[in-house]
């Protein structure tokens, strides 16, 4: 029962998943790579001190992952054969089965309890069913909810609420059971078969929702259990007689008491999970110019929201402003000041400010007198005219820490992202300046377009309290950007890019669209009562006032009010939701996974071609002369803060890359004989004594690439990119980012990010016979001559990370150009793959750290942590790879790796990346610092890695290195929270004098945190490899270790 273990984990993670449309199964399958990366990545991490949460999460997560791992196999298998465009569907289908099961169970229950289920009973049954599982229930529920993909409308008998609830509970219980099953067995029933059942089965129950409106009143609304968010939202809007509804949304509080936006496109139940069906109707997008709203009723609602905001302190105002706004409120709600009727007491029920003084009330009254003759609508308009100028108007604040661990606030607004330290604005990133928005784990990143005077793009990372908050922030950013900057919502990502990560996109109407739509509104101004004032007066009259409403609107403690409403006053974290409901692809391009799929889908020809090009690339690299190396390295070293000494000194291996070569028959002598250990990347110093031979081989070694990089997001992309790059197709790289890479390199101080790169290149030895088949584990053998096929699939959990490229969207979508903050064209001609790189870069450090390699197949889980797998393109993986790739690609030139290579192979890009950590860009959380210390910035440190390469060789070497075109048979990455293993298999066949040799080279990248037992992992990997290829011998083992020197704190 993994379940037990996992329960905790799930709780944390699941919620998000639920939010995300992406069905868990799919995610799981693809997730593997992602997660590890996430950790690895923490580019911020370096910068940012580890959040308190961070620690907890990872651990919790791992179990879950394991579980997931199991599932993936199935999912993966299926997905392989599905064309990319089917992917999503597939995921749904996977999800459905669960539902189906659930349904079945429900049926059963119903049968058992004919008619309406009695509330009492269900609990009992639950207890019996799942004794001791109570605690888990939530989690499971969540999971369950995730599973269900589509809402199946069904008619329900309407029961009273209590009934419903009980039913709910029951369902949960059931779901638990199911969960168990699922977990245990990982059943993957075919969706097709189950569907009919589902439909037949459903008797839908309805649930009573309570929506707190802006005036504090409650709006009860009955909805089907499976109803999506928009259903309820529309109900509410209908009740309010609101047409310009795109500015609004429904929020609820999650288990952590955080305010979340109800995603209209998803089932309510799945979003709120176990929270009560309690919602609040709120303004989601504050129109910068309320006077452009078409209807007074819309403005009125906005006023109500702002009054809440002000009373709660969310929208800070000066004394005078509080007074002025308060006076407009009085005018709107009470009409002209009437000395006889309006004594000072009359406004004691109003809350004009978080803390309201007598003095203020007097001022309000004084001002109120001046508004005589103003209609309520005019007063509202005036209210808004003043409120909109407040600097915090419409700013959605999120707690975060900057790269240095300093507490800051990130504010999302119509114009962009604001960074505050205390009350001071320390930076601002207008939407046009932002190239990419992403999050990974609890880190949130934005990539900034270089300014006129800047040479390169920079990425800024922030640490949020936890993963969910990071995701929430990301969603809010995506939504705000889309709503305010685009003319039309961004199209869903192309099918070809599978998405890793959140699929979330804002799909509602943009401001431009809603304005257009509202210009068509042709109805007499609807009558509406300004209820809040009424309440007040009523209370004065002695009429009962609902305390709730009072509080909500103005209770002194707006906070209290908010809570009741189910929202959180201080910070609002909004997640997605909004108008229309469709969830579309995310920004995150999970190219990795795509690739994998693509490859699979591809015809052999394509694959071969692709591989051929890759191998060609490699060859060319090999040919290039190695000499420059030392110099380059030296340069690097100097540039980089970390000295080689340090590097060597440090101990923990974070990464190991192992290549195991098996040669059949011919050379079977004992496996690893010679050992060469070298510290390649960093210092180039040889750590261990090296045999000449070995050395030679090493040098020769074609850069096998492996980028050990487990970045989650990037992985996917990177993989893709890499492939492409290898292939020479660089096309897809996103334009914007391209620049980055180069710059990085140029940057004098580039940290040596470089060190990481190392590729353990193993030279394959020649095997005399072709025994290809066995060699590869799962992979098909590719008989032909040495083309490597690379398959990559990376699975990442969507939740972990997501990217959003605001600019990109602009391309396809029209952007509204309001601000002249033009996007600066500065981008230089984008080198082909660059952009991803930048983002990718950061992760490297981390990635490297933790990698542990497993020799073999996907399945092995290292220490048990491994959960996810990713296929990596033979060449490299994530961001790290950039550099690595570089190195790899030009193996000989190792030294230069960085700069030159980049230029050469621009394509290498890694795709999705978060930021930058490694790359050099420093995180600038405030301009201040940035300006001040430009230099320092570059130095910012990220994690320094130590790299060592150790080669064990069987005696004979052949010149083999020659590089025959290897065939990349398999590339897999298994990721767990703490560990990531990537296995790349190269099979090379050579015909020599009638002898055909098959050389199988496996590259295993193990990335993990320090707690990994590398030796063991390595041993395991070797062992497995041997087992897989019993008839081959291990001729050489090259171990490349990269250690992160610096801060452990991150982990």
């Amino acid at each position: 029962m993994t379940t037990e273990v996992g329960s905790e984990t799930e709780v944390k993670k699941e919620p998000e998943k639920a939010e995300e449309q992406s069905p868990a199964p799919e995610q799981d399958a693809q997730a593997p790579a992602a997660e590890p990366k996430a950790e690895a990545e923490l580019p911020c991490g370096e910068t940012a001190p580890p959040g308190g949460d961070g620690d907890a999460q990872p651990k919790a997560a791992s179990p879950e992952k394991e579980r997931k791992q199991k599932e993936p196999s199935a999912g993966k298998g299926i997905s392989r054969f599905l064309p990319p465009w089917l992917k999503r569907q597939k995921s749904q289908s996977q999800a459905e089965p669960r539902e189906a099961e659930k349904e079945n169970q429900e049926k059963v229950d119903e049968q058992q309890q004919p008619g309406q289920e009695s509330a009492p009973k269900s609990p009992v049954s639950e207890a019996k069913e799942a004794p001791g599982e109570e605690l888990k229930s939530d989690d499971k529920d969540d999971k369950h909810s995730i599973g269900s993909a589509d809402t199946q409308p069904a008619k329900e008998e309407k029961g009273d609420e209590s009934l419903e609830r009980s039913a709910d509970v029951k369902e949960k219980e059931e779901s638990k059971c199911e969960e168990k099953k699922e977990e245990g067995e990982t059943p993957k029933p075919d969706s097709g078969t189950e569907k009919p059942l589902l439909k037949a089965a459903k008797k839908m129950k309805t649930v009573m929702c309570h929506v707190t409106l802006l005036d504090g009143s409650q709006f009860p609304c009955e909805v089907e259990k499976r109803a999506k968010g928009h259903f309820l939202f529309f109900k509410v809007c209908e009740h309010l007689n609101l047409l310009e509804k795109d500015y609004f949304g429904l929020s609820y509080k999650d288990a952590a008491d955080q305010k979340c936006w109800l995603d209209p496109a998803k089932e309510i139940k799945r979003q709120i999970r176990n929270s009560p069906w309690q919602f609040a109707f709120n303004v989601k997008f504050y129109p910068p110019d309320p006077s452009q709203l078409t209807e007074d009723i819309t403005r009125y609602l906005l006023c109500l929201q702002l009054r809440q905001d002000i009373a709660s302190g969310r929208l800070p105002c000066s004394f005078v402003t509080h007074s002025l706004l308060g006076s407009y409120t009085l005018q709107a709600e009470l009409g002209d000041y009437d000395p006889s009727e309006h004594r000072l007491e009359y406004l004691s029920d109003f809350q004009f400010a978080p803390t309201q003084t007598k003095e203020m009330e007097e001022k309000v009254v004084e001002l109120h007198k001046n508004h005589r003759g103003m209609t309520p609508a005019q007063a509202d308009a005036q209210f808004l005219e003043n409120a909109k100028k407040l600097s915090m108007y419409g700013v959605d604040l999120h707690h975060a820490k900057d790269s240095e661990g300093v507490d800051i606030m990130l504010g999302v607004c119509a114009n962009g992202l604001l960074v505050y330290k205390d009350r001071l604005r320390i930076n601002r990133f207008a939407w046009p300046k932002i190239l990419k928005i992403s999050y990974k784990r609890s880190n949130f990143y934005i990539k900034i377009r270089p300014g006129e005077t800047e040479q390169f793009e920079s990425s800024v990372g922030f640490k949020l309290p936890n993963h969910r908050s990071a995701k929430r922030l990301w969603k809010v950013c995506v939504e705000h950007h889309t709503f305010f900057r685009l003319v039309t919502p961004e199209q869903p990502p192309k099918a070809r890019f599978l998405t890793l990560g959140s699929k979330f996109r804002y799909s509602g109407r943009t401001q431009a669209q809603t304005r257009q739509a509202s210009s068509l509104i042709d109805r007499p101004a609807p009558y509406f009562e300004r209820t809040s004032s009424k309440r007040v007066s009523r209370s004065l009259d002695g009429a009962p006032v609902v305390s709730v409403s009072d509080q909500a609107l103005r209770g002194d403690s707006s906070v209290a009010g908010d809570k009741e409403n189910g929202r959180e006053p201080a910070l609002e974290l909004s997640s997605d939701s909004k108008s229309k409901l469709r969830v579309q692809g995310e920004n995150i391009y999970v190219r990795h996974s795509n690739l994998m799929l693509e490859d699979l889908d591809k015809t052999q020809e394509d694959v071969l071609k692709h591989q051929a090009s890759i191998s060609e690339l490699k060859r060319s690299f090999m040919e290039s002369t190695p000499e420059p190396r030392p110099d380059q390295w030296d340069k690097r070293l100097t540039a980089s803060p970390a000295t080689s000494l340090r590097l060597q000194a440090q101990g923990s291996l974070e990464e190991e890359i192992t290549s195991i070569l098996f040669s059949k028959a011919g050379f079977c002598s004992g496996p690893a004989r010679p050992f060469v250990s070298r510290a390649r990347a960093a210092e180039g110093t040889v750590t261990a004594a090296s045999l000449p031979v070995a050395m030679g081989s090493v040098e020769k070694t074609p850069p096998t690439t492996d980028g050990p990089l487990p970045d989650s997001k990037d992985i996917g992309k990177s993989a893709e990119d890499k492939q492409r790059s290898g292939t020479g197709e660089q096309a897809e790289v996103e334009i914007e980012e391209t620049v980055v890479i180069k710059e990085v390199k140029k940057a004098p101080k580039t940290k040596d990010v470089a060190p990481e790169v190392v590729v353990g290149a193993a030279v394959a030895e020649e095997a005399k016979k072709e025994k290809e088949g066995e060699a590869e584990e799962k992979e098909d053998k590719r008989p032909g001559g040495g083309e490597a096929s690379s398959s990559s699939d990376s699975h990442s959990e969507s939740e972990e990370e997501a990217e959003y490229h605001p600019q990109v969207s602009s391309v396809s979508v029209d952007q509204i150009k309001e601000e002249p903050e033009e996007e600066e064209p500065k981008q230089e001609a984008p080198p082909p793959g660059a952009d991803p790189i930048a983002s990718a870069a950061p992760p490297r450090a981390r990635e490297e750290r933790g990698a542990a390699s497993e020799g073999a197949a996907d399945e092995e889980a290292h220490n048990g942590h491994t959960e996810t797998r990713q296929g990596l393109v033979s060449v490299e993986e994530d961001e790290e790879e950039e550099e690595e790739e570089e190195e790899e690609e030009e193996p000989r030139l190792n030294g230069d790796v960085s700069r030159t290579e980049t230029e050469r192979l621009p394509q290498v890009i890694c795709c999705s990346e978060p930021p930058v950590v490694k790359t050099e860009m420093v995180t600038i959380s405030d301009t201040f610092a940035a300006q001040k210390t430009e230099i320092s910035t570059k130095e910012v440190p990220i994690v320094h890695t130590e790299t060592k390469t150790i080669t064990y060789e069987a005696a004979q070497l052949d010149g083999a290195g020659d590089s025959e075109p290897g065939v990349l048979m398999t590339a897999q990455t298994i990721t767990s929270e703490s560990l990531c293993t990537t296995t790349t298999t190269h099979i090379t066949k050579t015909l020599k004098g009638g002898l055909s040799e098959t050389r199988i080279e496996k590259r295993i990248v193990i990335t993990g945190d320090s707690d990994i037992d590398h030796d063991q992992a390595l041993a395991q990997a070797i062992k497995e490899a041997k087992e897989q290829h019993p008839d081959m011998s291990v001729t050489r083992v090259v171990v490349h270790k990269e250690t992160e020197l610096a801060e452990e704190g991150e982990d």
């Binding site: 105002c317 005078v320 009350r423 001071l424 320390i426 930076n427 601000e819």
Partner: protein, 288 residues
């Protein structure tokens, strides 16, 4: 029906302080040469005359204090916006006493006085740039972050952004408002860099008026009832090049350009003492 936060409001008052004989020891003095105090005092008189007679402001003249050589630099003593006056806490400890007289004067004007009680906070008024829509605070040798925070807490309606200022200068040493939405900025690299920061941090668009001399960028824009937009800037003879620029690019209708001639020494050394103090008193603080 003007709202509260309409740009600069109208200028109605100015607070000036006489130049003490000890002014030569001014801690704020930038230029190295000998300072002719008596000449500065004469210029100051002229300046006051312009404020009073040409511009019709109500001028509060504070007496000089010999123990406070820099007391004439009233711009550092307080930040006034709307009906609130934040009494500064100058970075130079020797100057902190200057705020006392200022405080009393502002109190008489019925402003809400806010004191910086935090001992760790420092703020020079000259580091504070109010653009009419928001504040920028130069974080300099004289002003620290804590001081800026207090400013932000005091003027909650406005965004307060930090701008790093180096070279021992203060933000207004090379930068000031020359009109609504128009920033006068020196052409030194440092000044330009700061402008970039200002532009990046702002949600608003500002035009810039670049003048060759940093010091010439220190001017005073006022919106005077009955007189329209007025820009008080350095004497032409002092910064001929800069004067040309500003006169030619007064697209904002800066009509009367009182250019108090002969303020050479004063301007050079003082950088317009009246700076912050010309209150942004809104003639009609509340819409009526």
């Amino acid at each position: 029906m003007a709202g509260l936060m309409t740009d600069f409001g109208n200028f109605t008052h100015a607070v000036v302080r006489a130049i003490p004989d000890s002014f030569a020891k001014s801690a704020q003095r930038r230029s190295g040469g000998e300072l002719d105090v008596s000449k500065a005092q004469r210029e100051h008189e002229l300046y006051i005359g312009v404020l009073k007679h040409e511009l019709g402001l109500r001028v509060l003249e504070l007496p000089a204090d010999e123990s406070l050589p820099d007391c004439a630099l009233v711009g550092d003593a307080a930040v006034v916006c709307g009906d609130t006056a934040l009494i500064a806490r100058p970075g130079a400890a020797a100057r902190r006493k200057e705020t006392e007289a200022m405080r009393n004067a502002l109190k008489e004007l019925n402003l809400n006085i806010v004191d910086m009680e935090d001992e760790s906070a420092t703020l020079d008024g000259e580091d504070v740039l109010f653009t009419g829509r928001e504040f920028f605070v130069g974080i300099s040798t004289r002003t620290n972050q804590r001081g800026a925070e207090i400013l932000a807490d005091t003027f909650k309606d406005y965004a307060v952004s930090m701008v790093p200022v180096q070279n021992g200068q203060r933000l207004k040493s090379f930068c000031s408002m020359a009109g609504p939405g128009l920033v006068a900025i020196g052409s030194s690299e440092h000044a330009q860099k700061c402008l970039k920061v200002v532009q990046q941090m702002s949600d608003h668009r500002y035009d810039k008026l670049t003048v060759p001399d940093d010091a010439a960028a220190n001017c005073v824009y006022m919106n005077l009832p009955g007189k329209g937009h007025v820009l008080l800037h350095c004497a032409q003879e002092e910064y001929p090049e800069s004067a040309k620029v500003s006169l030619n690019s007064t697209q904002h209708g800066t009509s009367p350009f009182p250019s108090p001639g002969g303020l050479t020494d004063l301007l050079r050394n003082l950088r317009l003492p009246q700076r912050r103090v010309p209150l942004h008193l809104n003639a009609t603080p509340f819409p009526s």
